[in-house]
């Protein structure tokens, strides 16, 4: 197990450098530079422009800029935003809880609904329910997030008026950010009705963000369950005289969960990528929206290091999932 962890950690290094190189190059391929964006549409005085670039160190050759960047990273310095002059790390850590809250809510939604729907579809294979769930999940998987989000906003927020259109909480409430998680902070505050309001704000974006993972989890659960239910040990369990529920949920689902868990882990990347779009649609003040705005402003340090932080996070989560996988599957746990 220890050598397994060491090997996985070793893989982090090339991934890390790959991400820095990619973001560094990609953001510079977009036409324009931070100074132009800051100065606006009108022609800038070339002398002033050059002077500003020099101040930011952007007049150096690209390789020198890259080495500066890596050098700063080596000192743990993620730089500061060109727009706000705030440290990138500080901005990230302030905004990240919002993204995390949204992602966890989406995962909770996708996980519970996906598991239940997948198990029922497997048990009632070939039924109308089965075909329905598989059809809907294929549609959900294929749906572009921005369009799906707009559809739901139009239906639930505009026509039915059930949920707010955007944001995390109504402006009426003044919530002190203690944990950064709005659901928890509203509970800690003494503002009445704030928790329910925060929940209402959370539901629609969570559903939108959770749709693709939901489809993947439902399909994976169904196929894993179908496979497991054919196994000899399920027949053994039935021959013991156990109740059908126990056979399915204890003997079946326990084994079907192993591949599903891996898929859920892989969805974390999808979630964070989806969060960029979802946060933009719902004006959700999280990391995704922050990155989109920074790309627009050619805020090089924020884009480079924001993406780097998220990439590290995805790698970490996959790493944790691998370890969990070992815990769920005794055959892996006992190797070595």
């Amino acid at each position: 197990m220890l050598s397994f962890i060491a090997r996985r950690l070793g893989l982090l290094i090339p991934t890390f450098f790959g991400v820095t190189l990619l973001t560094f190059a990609l953001i510079r391929m977009i036409p324009g530079d931070p100074v132009e964006v800051m100065m606006g549409e009108r022609r800038v005085d070339p002398a002033m422009h050059a002077e500003a670039l020099h101040r930011l160190g952007l007049d150096k050759p690209l390789y020198a800029q890259y080495f500066d960047y890596i050098g700063n990273l080596a000192h743990g310095d993620l730089g500061e935003s060109l727009r706000t002059r705030e440290s990138v790390w500080h901005e990230f850590i302030t905004l990240f809880p919002a993204t995390l809250e949204l992602s966890l809510a989406a995962l909770l939604f996708a996980g519970t609904v996906g598991l239940i729907a997948g198990v029922i579809a497997a048990l009632k294979r070939g039924s109308l329910f089965d075909h329905g769930v598989m059809g809907i999940s294929l549609a959900g998987y294929s749906m572009p997030i921005f369009w799906w989000g707009l559809l739901l906003i139009m239906f639930f927020s505009v026509w039915l008026g059930w949920t707010p259109v955007s944001g995390r909480i109504d402006l009426l409430y003044d919530i002190e950010p203690r944990t950064g998680f709005m659901l928890i902070d509203t509970l800690l505050s003494d503002e009445e009705g704030a928790f329910v309001d925060a929940l209402q704000h959370l539901i629609l974006p969570a559903v939108v963000l959770g749709t693709i993972p939901l489809a993947v989890i439902a399909r994976m659960t169904r196929s894993a369950m179908l496979e497991v239910l054919r196994e000899d040990y399920v027949r053994t369990a039935r021959a013991k005289g156990l109740s059908p529920a126990r056979v399915v949920f204890v003997h079946g689902l326990r084994n079907a969960l192993i591949p599903v868990l891996t898929v859920i882990g892989l969805q974390v990347g999808t979630l964070l990528a989806g969060a960029v779009l979802t946060e933009t649609i719902f004006s959700w003040p999280g990391v995704g929206k922050w990155l989109i705005e920074s790309i627009g402003a050619r805020d090089y340090p924020v884009v480079q290091n924001g993406i780097l932080l998220i990439a590290c996070l995805v790698i970490m989560v996959n790493f944790v999932v691998d370890i969990l996988y070992g815990l769920a599957n005794p055959r892996i746990r006992h190797q070595r």
Binding site: Y233, T236, L242, S243, H251, N255, I258, R331, H334
Partner: protein
């Protein structure tokens, strides 16, 4: 009265017109008796016992006049009542022990599950009893094995665990579905010996599904020979071995390698078991039978009792008096 009395059992997969996999089968087992069911693959041996346990799922269809077990007709029982009997009074072990145990749970958990379900044992009492059961099936270092997962056990060990699970609730009838087929030859003998000892100690009846006639000769009191879903001969050991009355039984016995010592080739029965689309109109064995007559091709014989058992043949072998 017999412990088990199956009357006219048929199992089909598909609609009511589908060719039956088990076709009008009668079987009875007395208390404490060892009955062997032999026949080649696909003859319906396992399906018969799965039907008795209620483990045949759609699209399988089970029909019978009765499935009497210990005074209850298993056919008329609803889910919960049936589940109170299977795994308790009527239990089963399967062919491949390496896949029959759940890979995600410890041996102890899987045995204790039966004790909790049928004996009302929990916690320490269940653990203690599970340990006794492992010792009973002669697993060395039983206490350390309780925490083992199935993948840490060999095939023989796994089969012992499966046996421990099956006898945990002291069944009146244990069905062993080819319990040694997947195991090494040396282990096979040990497992058979264990099963026979347990059968004697606990005075339980044993239905042994096998195609190993040597095992049958050593362990069983009675034999039912199946061919294409029908019982073709029922008789006691050793009479059936010495004087088989059905041509198929005779062919099975001739195919034992030891019986062909000195011969150029192993004796075999040409052809294969009739499938779904080539079932003969007459006796199901007629296309392969060395003694076939015109009557055999036209009509299907019934299972008829005779002085030593029963046979499904118009022209039985080795019988002094003619079958009625």
């Amino acid at each position: 009265m017999s412990l088990l009395d199956i009357k006219n059992l048929s199992v089909r997969f598909g609609d009511a017109n589908a060719v039956p996999v088990v076709d009008g089968l009668d079987i009875s087992v007395d208390k404490g008796e060892v009955l062997a069911i032999v026949g080649e693959s696909g003859s319906g041996k396992s399906v018969t016992m799965m039907a008795l346990m209620g483990l045949i799922e759609a699209p399988g269809r089970v029909n019978a006049d009765s499935l009497q077990f210990d005074g209850t007709d298993m056919l008329r029982l609803k889910g919960k009542q049936r589940r109170n009997i299977i795994g308790k009074d009527l239990s089963m072990i399967f062919q491949d022990p390496m896949t029959a145990l759940n890979p995600s749970f410890t041996v102890g958990f899987q045995i204790e599950e039966v004790l909790r379900q049928h004996m009302g044992l929990k916690g320490k009492a269940a653990r203690q009893r599970a340990l006794e059961l492992l010792e009973k099936v002669e697993i060395p270092g039983a206490s350390s094995r309780l925490e083992a997962y199935p993948h840490q056990l060999s095939g023989g060990m796994s089969q012992r665990v499966a046996i421990a699970m099956a006898i945990a609730a002291e069944p009146k009838l244990l069905i062993a579905d080819e319990p040694t087929t997947a195991l090494d030859v040396t282990i096979q003998a040990q497992i058979m010996e264990l099963l026979v000892n347990l059968q004697r100690e606990q005075d339980m009846a044993l239905v042994l599904i096998t195609h190993d006639l040597a095992v049958v000769a050593e362990t069983a009191q009675r034999v039912c020979v199946m061919y294409a879903g029908q019982a073709v001969e029922v008789g006691s050991v050793p009479e059936l071995f010495n004087n088989p009355t059905h041509p198929y039984t005779e062919a099975l016995l001739k195919a034992i390698p030891e019986h062909s010592l000195g011969a150029e080739r192993l004796s075999t029965l040409p052809g294969i078991v009739p499938g779904r689309y080539d079932r003969p109109q007459g006796c199901l064995l007629s296309p392969r039978c060395p003694y076939v007559q015109e009557q055999c091709r036209q009509q299907r014989p019934a299972l008829e009792a005779h002085e030593r058992g029963a046979v499904r043949c118009f022209f039985p072998l080795n019988l002094t008096s003619e079958v009625a």
